[in-house]
Symmetry: C2
Subunit: 139 residues, 2 copies
């Protein structure tokens, strides 16, 4: 999907592409594929790849170490994605459309029938502090 | 060039695509085209488009308002770009390759013969505090 979208990865990136089913064993329904381009103390950029209908489950990024928590901008590159954000509701993103999620704000997202590639631009990414609503989720 | 690379912009983004000759009147040699996706207090993401052989002149992003200055990751999407970074020298980036420039570090970059599209992931972008080495440059 990434190559079809004109997105070039290095060999190392292809080898380290992450697939997660969030510990639920239902990858086709609840899961995410991602490649992390950069994740410094200040800035993170990733490509998120979603299979058709695949959902990333509800979660938030709380304040940590005196920072207000992770701020994320999701930009749809291909396909479509429905993003739900607490206080805003559902936002449908088509290619070229984006939405910025404030820190510590519950959200989830689900790809449309064609799947989706979503660029994520954010502050530092820390899986260990993300809070998922479903206590069975493991990351 | 952006459409050829599979990069979709909204109408507003196409209308606000910025072209700068840095006040030198030599756009084909010294200049930059860019679209800013997001620029919050914490995170900025842009696409930089360079014509064949076009150069963005030497500059640095100094500390401002108690922050250490802008940190930038340049990721080459198409074409090629030669990036010069103080303390590191010249780095040639091909599609899929990237380099992270620390804050307050002099750098310049020039596209190869095919031009280049470069994704920039950074902390907040502020044109007004950027320091160019050539005092004739205006931004």
């Amino acid at each position: 999907m990434l190559a079809d979208a004109g997105i070039v990865l290095t060999e190392d990136e292809r080898a380290s592409l992450e697939v997660t089913d969030f510990g639920l064993g239902l990858l086709d329904e609840i899961g995410l594929q991602l490649v992390v381009y950069v994740n410094t103390e200040r800035v993170c950029a990733k490509e998120l790849v979603l299979l058709p209908g695949q959902t990333c489950p509800e979660h938030r990024h709380p304040p940590v170490d005196g920072s207000p928590g992770k701020e994320e901008t999701f930009r749809c590159r291909t396909g479509s994605v429905t993003l739900w954000v607490d206080g805003r509701g559902e936002v449908m993103l088509q290619p070229g459309e984006q939405f910025t999620i404030p820190p510590d704000t519950l959200h989830w997202f689900r790809a449309g029938d064609e799947g989706a590639i979503v660029s994520e631009f954010s502050t530092r990414s820390r899986d260990d502090t993300t809070v998922f609503t479903d206590p069975r989720v493991r990351r």
